[in-house]
């Protein structure tokens, strides 16, 4: 009964909100009817695609080409026509290193520092993200009480904005924050987390796992729930041990989802910027400065806005992402096959 009245209130609200929308669509009707009469029904799909294609073209396809040309020009002007063509000089500058293992020996050491930081970051972040997502998904897949509540708890941070996430943790990790209060209460000394490069990197990794774990948990949970229960029943009848069931049934059948999670986490990890930028500002020094922040700093915040160098770095990032995305596609295809 109550549900029924809810439904009608909801419907009424929806129709109220829908009224101006319907009015708009109706107002556009004569226009599109005229177009249809003019060009024929056969060409109508292009009319429907047009707005989206214009946006794609303007803000994705065109920039993709401009980006490449940008990376071949020098100077500080924004407009391409004002910029001198310098060939692959930007790339040469970026890649000029005596030893690639040591950023200090590179001409553009901040770029290489960004790359090394990003590699360290994704190694630990992806490893622990996958590990904890898997454990959480396995636990949420058990017959537990209030499963919906627990699932919501682990998922909630996913929706928070990176700025909010960073500020929440910054507040906890401050010199006089609650974590240091806890450390003092158990007899330890205060730690100035954001003064130490190691601690800053640790918290950058920790906070980004905290914020995104729920998303990957959800994908793995969906995979776990898709495993046919009769497999487990059969294993139980055979008296198979739990460990064996996990290694022989759960993990192999979950593997396609695991692959998707690993590659998605890699793609996101390579692009890490927002929450760490607000949390540590890239510091101390350049200890937590990642590749995207290098592009941002080079192109938009330095006194001399070096758009060419930023573009060249973007192209390098783009190539890395392309490789990872191909890996993702391969992983997804495998998943569909299973």
């Amino acid at each position: 009964m109550a549900q029924q009245s809810d439904q009608t209130t909801g419907d009424r609200l929806a129709s109220l909100a829908g009224a101006p929308v319907r009015l708009l669509f109706r107002a556009l009707d004569p226009l599109f009817t005229a177009i249809q009469r003019g060009i024929g029904t056969k060409r109508m799909p292009w009319i429907f695609l047009l707005p989206n294609l214009v946006f794609f073209g303007l803000f994705v396809i065109l920039p993709l080409f401009i980006n490449f040309f940008y990376s071949l020009t020098g100077g500080t002007q924004l407009y391409l026509t004002d910029r001198p063509f310098i060939g692959t000089e930007q790339y040469g500058y970026l890649l000029d290193c005596e030893a690639f293992t040591d950023p200090q020996t590179c001409r553009e050491d901040r770029f290489w520092k960004g790359i090394y930081n990003t590699l360290v970051f994704i190694f630990f972040q992806v490893t622990f993200m996958v590990l904890f997502s898997l454990i959480t998904a396995l636990i949420l897949n058990r017959e537990i009480r209030a499963r919906g509540f627990f699932r919501a708890v682990f998922f909630f941070p996913v929706l928070l904005s990176p700025v909010v996430v960073a500020l929440i943790w910054k507040w906890i990790l401050l010199r006089d924050g609650i974590l240091n209060a806890f450390l003092v209460s158990i007899g330890l000394d205060k730690i100035l987390f954001f003064v130490s490069p190691e601690w800053s990197m640790f918290w950058a990794i920790f906070v980004s796992i905290w914020a995104h774990m729920g998303f990957y948990t959800l994908i793995l949970l969906a995979g776990l729930q898709a495993i046919p229960p009769d497999l487990y029943e059969a294993a139980e009848m055979d008296g198979t041990s739990k460990e064996r069931v996990f290694w022989r049934i759960t993990l192999p059948l979950l593997w396609p989802n695991m692959l998707v999670v690993i590659v998605l986490a890699l793609i996101k990890g390579v692009q890490i910027f927002d929450e760490v930028f607000v949390l540590t500002g890239g510091g101390p020094g350049t200890a937590t400065q990642f590749i995207v922040q290098y592009i941002y700093n080079t192109g938009f915040t330095n006194q001399v806005q070096n758009f060419g160098l930023a573009s060249a770095a973007s192209v390098v990032l783009g190539v890395a992402l392309f490789v990872l995305t191909m890996a993702q596609l391969a992983a997804t295809r495998r998943k569909d096959d299973v």
Binding site: L49, F154, L159, V164
Partner: protein
């Protein structure tokens, strides 16, 4: 006897939830499960609760170390013979007795205090022998001040405008494109689909500079359009809607054509209403994306009057003299809409993510 044992084991199982352990005994994995979940709740939810509690503390209370759990404020009382309310302390007197006294004034390390029940005489107490008497009190000015005195109302307004307008534009153009790709057979459709899927792989981080150039040459820098338009044509949205529209029976569309409905009418009168569940998922995603967007607005919005909440918050926390009491309160304001959406539409979001693998 065995009956009773069975019943009791059933009640134990009932109490602790269904477990994998047999005969009501807890398997070690059950213990681990609930410990993990308990710790998880603390770790995932605790920081947010700590943020909300802290946001109600006064700026002086925030400086305290160690911090108090609840927001507290010192009690002030009216004492006969004094115009202003006086702060209340618990003082240890020379004879060792403890009494609640109101402070009249502080001179150096001595505090001149008065007994509220006997306002006539003043008592000298060293300041280290008195502690504040406090009660639960929420510093609502943390919320009021930034919204009234600073630009946060402006930021809030900008964020709402960006989120609403961008979501409407996204829904309109993405559903049109999805309709075109789902309903019609035409030459070039495969190429367009490839283009859509291809652009899925190009995040804005890779094309920051050229998009900035495009937006600048269109004269949109420091206008909200610079934030709204570049992300409006989402490949995710087109893909999601198209997959859904493919499931709509063709007979319905053919029937509408028989009735001489125009293609536009078929789109908005027949297909859109049927695609509402997918539209709802896209709308929720779009609201989340836009509300939480940071890097791109940070680049194209350089004047305070066009800041969104995220950019404004970041600018505020980057100042030399960080005013945490305002920042915490505004952070709470920023997370409220997302939390509300989550509370009411959790099912939509989780099924949307699980089915599309996107966020």
């Amino acid at each position: 006897m065995s009956d009773a044992a069975a019943t009791s084991s059933r009640t134990i199982r009932g109490l602790l939830g269904a477990t994998r352990g047999t005969n009501g005994r807890l398997h070690w994995t059950d213990v681990f499960t609930y410990m993990y979940l308990g710790f998880g709740v603390l770790l995932m939810f605790g920081p947010v609760i700590w943020l909300v509690l802290s946001s109600f503390k006064t700026s002086s209370a925030l400086l305290e170390f160690p911090p108090t759990f609840l927001p507290l404020g010192q009690i002030e009382i009216q004492v006969e013979g004094y115009d202003d309310p006086l702060p209340l302390f618990e003082a240890t007197l020379e004879d060792g007795s403890v009494k609640q006294l109101a402070q009249v004034r502080r001179i150096g390390i001595m505090s001149q205090m008065v007994d509220p029940e006997n306002p006539g005489e003043t008592i000298q107490v060293p300041i280290n022998r008195r502690t504040e008497v406090r009660e639960f009190r929420m510093a609502l000015e943390n919320y009021r001040d930034p919204l009234e005195r600073f630009d946060f109302t402006r930021y809030l307004y900008n964020s709402v405008v960006v989120t609403v307008v961008a979501t409407l534009v996204t829904l309109l153009i993405n559903s049109m494109a999805a309709y075109g790709l789902a309903i019609y057979e035409f030459r070039g459709r495969a190429a367009i689909m490839l283009l859509v899927i291809g652009t899925l792989m190009i995040p804005i981080t890779v094309i920051l500079v050229p998009v900035y150039l495009v937006v600048t040459s269109m004269g949109m820098i420091n206008s909200l359009w610079a934030v709204i338009l570049p992300g409006a044509a989402t490949p995710t949205g087109v893909f999601l809607l198209r997959q859904y529209m493919l499931t709509i029976p063709r007979d319905l569309i053919e029937a509408a054509r028989m009735d001489k409905a125009s293609e536009w009418a078929i789109y908005w009168k027949v297909v859109l209403p049927l695609a509402m569940p997918a539209m709802a998922v896209l709308a929720i995603f779009s609201i989340m994306w836009r509300w939480n967007d940071f890097l791109w607005p940070l680049i194209v919005l350089n004047r305070s009057e066009v800041y969104t909440l995220q950019v404004g918050l970041n600018a505020f926390q980057g100042e030399l003299d960080v005013q945490w009491h305002y920042i915490l309160a505004m952070t709470v304001v920023t997370l409220i809409p997302v939390t509300l959406v989550f509370a009411f539409l959790q099912k939509f979001i989780t099924t949307g993510i699980a089915s599309s693998g996107m966020k």
